[in-house]
């Protein structure tokens, strides 16, 4: 098993949930498929999904819900 990072594709605000009153997409320790959504990035009021990009198990999130993130910033660690 190797640990990889999932990077934010865009600069903006990172959200772990699809809506404020909904549960988070994924928790630490969840198993994910490559095409699973793990969060949203809000860029100039448009929302873009962040995909896991690889199948594996999420070790931990590195960015908090509603954190301001830069493009290329790691937002989660995943064991593949």
């Amino acid at each position: 098993m190797a640990t990889q990072q999932i990077f934010s594709p865009l600069p903006g605000i990172f959200y772990r949930k699809p809506a404020p009153d909904k549960p988070v997409y994924k928790n630490d320790g969840d198993v994910v498929a490559e095409s699973d959504t793990i969060g949203l990035i809000e860029v100039m009021k448009s929302f873009n999904e962040v995909k896991a990009g690889a199948a594996g198990k999420i070790v931990r999130f590195l960015a908090e819900n509603e954190d301001a993130v830069m493009a290329g910033q790691p937002i989660a660690e995943i064991d593949v």
């Binding site: 865009l10 600069p11 903006g12 605000i13 860029v43 100039m44 009021k45 448009s46 509603e66 301001a68």
Partner: protein
Amino acid sequence: MAIKKLLIANRGEIAVRIIRAARDLGIATVQVYSKADKDSLAVRLADESVDIGPPQASKSYLNQAAILAAAQGSGADAIHPGYGFLAENAEFAAAVEAAGLIFVGPTAQSIRLMGDKVAAREAAASAGVPTVSGSQGRLESVEAAFALVEKTGFPVMIKAAAGGGGRGIRIARSAEEFHHLMPQAQAEALAAFGDGGLYVEKLIEGARHIEVQVLGDGRDVIHCFERECSLQRRRQKVWEEAPSPSLTQAVREKLCTSAVALAKAVNYRGAGTLEYLYDDRTGEFYFLEMNTRIQVEHPVTEMVTGIDLVREMIRIAGGEPLRIRQNEVRVSGHSVEVRINAEDPARNFLPNPGTVSALSVPGGDGVRFDSMLYAGYTVPPFYDSLLGKLIVHDKDRPSAIRRLESALAELSVEGISTTKPLYQALARDADVKAGRFHTAWLEPWLESHAAGLATAQPPSAAKVAP
């Protein structure tokens, strides 16, 4: 009490616009900013600036306590909310007054009344202003709503009472669709606005969006004629002009008189806009809603009337009565504004924050560029994509559109993609030149013209400054 020091509770191009108006009046300025806006043009131009928190708007530009503390700490005696953020928040307007400060805008009561779209429709109806046929008040049940639409006929729009700006609107074209959409709309309105109240309006297809600018001092109200903003994408205006190319003089007179009647009925104070749908096949107009703030597209009205709306609203907030009589407001020539957004029209308007590596701004007679840009500025990703507005004025509409084309050719924002190619294409379009459009015209046009909207010089190919 004349205002001595004005705090600007906004950002971007409108903050710059307000700072300039305040300076013209000899008023000192305090610009609040989030961490992401430390290097903004507004911060550079203001006399003072105050950090009010992190980039997220909810923690900075929407943080009422931080803004009030900044006002008190800096000794500001008034707050201008701009548009968006807290501009139409009645609680904020009330909190500003409760803190002993002036809110540059209407009373909290006016904001609350016009913010409730059902109450606004009722106020319009009782002032004799025509509204689209539909529900008299809010609809709490699907059955009551259905009984009503059986009378008005399809298609109908289902709208949230607490919505606005095009949010929460659904269109039902049949009874079946209606029964499917009503419960959805109710649940969504409740989730989005904390208020499940709905109302229903007959959909008028092919209608234009025309709005009337008003100025009031709490007693008297004047209008500054109309703007037409029918060119919209996803219910967001992209191109606005004054006067409307589609109104006859008789309809213009009736429309503007109706706007003054409604604004007077609510003792309106400050700058406001009454939005209407206009059906140019029948000559009928219908009140939609009132925006109780300065609007993005206010400069086209300024260009044709010569009235500085931002300056006037600040004077009125400082306690001065209206200085302009209705018969002194005259329209001269034609003005067009286009919104230069950090979006790539060739890639489905993908947002495009980044660094402006070089900037050339158009100039000359009848050309105005209200923006937040300077060369080397990094556009943050946290707010809307409006970079600035290019506004032109000339003796008539064809001349104004020619001037727009020439000004667009001079405008160069390097390093990021903008919506400039969209306006170059629109300015050459035969229907646009003839003023033949309506609010649902632009989206299908975009589908068929997508290929022609590629940025002339993509950022990757942009020359690096030597």
